[in-house]
C-alpha cells in the first residue's frame, strides 16, 4: 500500500507548494538551514532573514505578527507528530 503522505508530497511539490516542499525535505533528512537558504533564492520574503538561527528568526516574526509563539510551536509540533 503506497504511503499517502509521500504521494501527497510528490503531488504538492509539483505544484510548488512551499509547505509540501519543506515537509518533503524534512522527511528526506535534509538540513532545515540548507532548505531555507535554497528557498530564499526564489523568495525575496526570506532574503535578509537570519536563516542560520531559524528558531530565533521565527520567534521574531511571531512577535512582529502578534502570534503566540508557544501556541504556534505546539500546534505545528502536534501536526508534524501526527504526520509522522
Amino acid at each position: 500500500m503506497p504511503n499517502p503522505m509521500l504521494s501527497l508530497l510528490q503531488g504538492s511539490q509539483s505544484q510548488n507548494n512551499i509547505m509540501m516542499q519543506a515537509i518533503g525535505a524534512m522527511m528526506r533528512g535534509e538540513s532545515p538551514q540548507n532548505f531555507m537558504q535554497s528557498l530564499a533564492k526564489n523568495n525575496p520574503a526570506l532574503q535578509g532573514l537570519d536563516l542560520n538561527n531559524l528558531n530565533g528568526t521565527a520567534e521574531q516574526l511571531c512577535r512582529q505578527n502578534n502570534i503566540d509563539i508557544n501556541d504556534a510551536k505546539s500546534r505545528i509540533n502536534q501536526y508534524v507528530n501526527n504526520i509522522k
Binding site: 507548494n17 509547505m19 509540501m20 515537509i23 526570506l46 521565527a58 505578527n65 502570534i67 501536526y79 508534524v80
Partner: protein
C-alpha cells in the same frame, strides 16, 4: 530534526514557523495564511486516517467473515442434526403408523373373512329353508290330491249305488 528525534525545539520547527508566518501555509493552525497547505495536509491526514480505518475495518471484516463462517458452519451442523432428528422421529412415527395400519388391516381382513363365512352359512341356510318349504308344499299338495282322490272314489261309489237304485227301484210297500 531526525525521524526519531524530537521535533519540538528543532531547527525544522523554526523553519516551519517562518514559512507559516511568511507564506501563510498554515491556515489550519489558526494564525493566518491562505490555508491551501493545511487543506492538503488535512487531506493527507484524513486519507491516512481513512486508510487506517479501512485497514481496521478490513481486519474486522475478515474476523467477522471467519466468525460468520464458523457460526454458519455450527448452525448448519445444528440444523442438519435437528433435521436428522426430525427425520428419525418422522420415520419412527411412520413405522408406528404402518404397524397400526397393518394391525388394523389384519383385523379388517379377518372380519371380512368371517363375514364371508357367515354369508356363506346364511346363504346355505336360506337355500335349505327354501327347499324345506318346497318339500312341505309338495307334501301338502300330495296330501290334498290323495284326499281328493279318496273323495272322488267315494263319490263314484255312491253314484254307482244310487244309479242302480234308480234303475231297479224296489217295490214300494204301502
Amino acid at each position: 530534526m531526525t525521524e526519531n528525534g524530537s521535533f519540538f525545539g528543532s531547527d525544522w520547527l523554526g523553519a516551519f514557523l517562518i514559512i507559516a508566518v511568511l507564506f501563510g501555509g498554515f491556515g489550519g493552525f489558526g494564525f493566518g495564511g491562505n490555508g491551501a497547505a493545511a487543506v492538503d495536509i488535512n487531506g493527507a491526514l484524513a486519507t491516512q486516517s481513512i486508510q487506517q480505518s479501512l485497514g481496521a475495518i478490513q481486519l474486522s471484516s475478515q474476523n467477522n467473515n471467519y466468525e460468520t463462517a464458523r457460526l454458519i458452519d455450527n448452525q448448519t451442523m445444528y440444523l442438519m442434526n435437528q433435521q436428522n432428528s426430525n427425520l428419525i422421529n418422522a420415520i419412527q412415527g411412520y413405522n408406528s403408523t404402518n404397524q397400526a395400519l397393518a394391525s388394523g388391516f389384519n383385523s379388517v381382513n379377518q372380519n371380512i373373512a368371517n363375514l364371508g363365512y357367515k354369508m356363506e352359512e346364511c346363504c346355505c341356510g336360506i337355500k335349505t329353508m327354501l327347499l324345506e318349504n318346497r318339500l312341505q308344499d309338495t307334501q301338502l299338495a300330495l296330501q290334498d290330491a290323495q284326499n281328493k282322490a279318496v273323495t272322488s272314489d267315494q263319490t263314484a261309489y255312491l253314484l254307482n249305488v244310487m244309479g242302480k237304485w234308480v234303475a231297479n227301484a224296489p217295490a214300494t210297500t204301502a
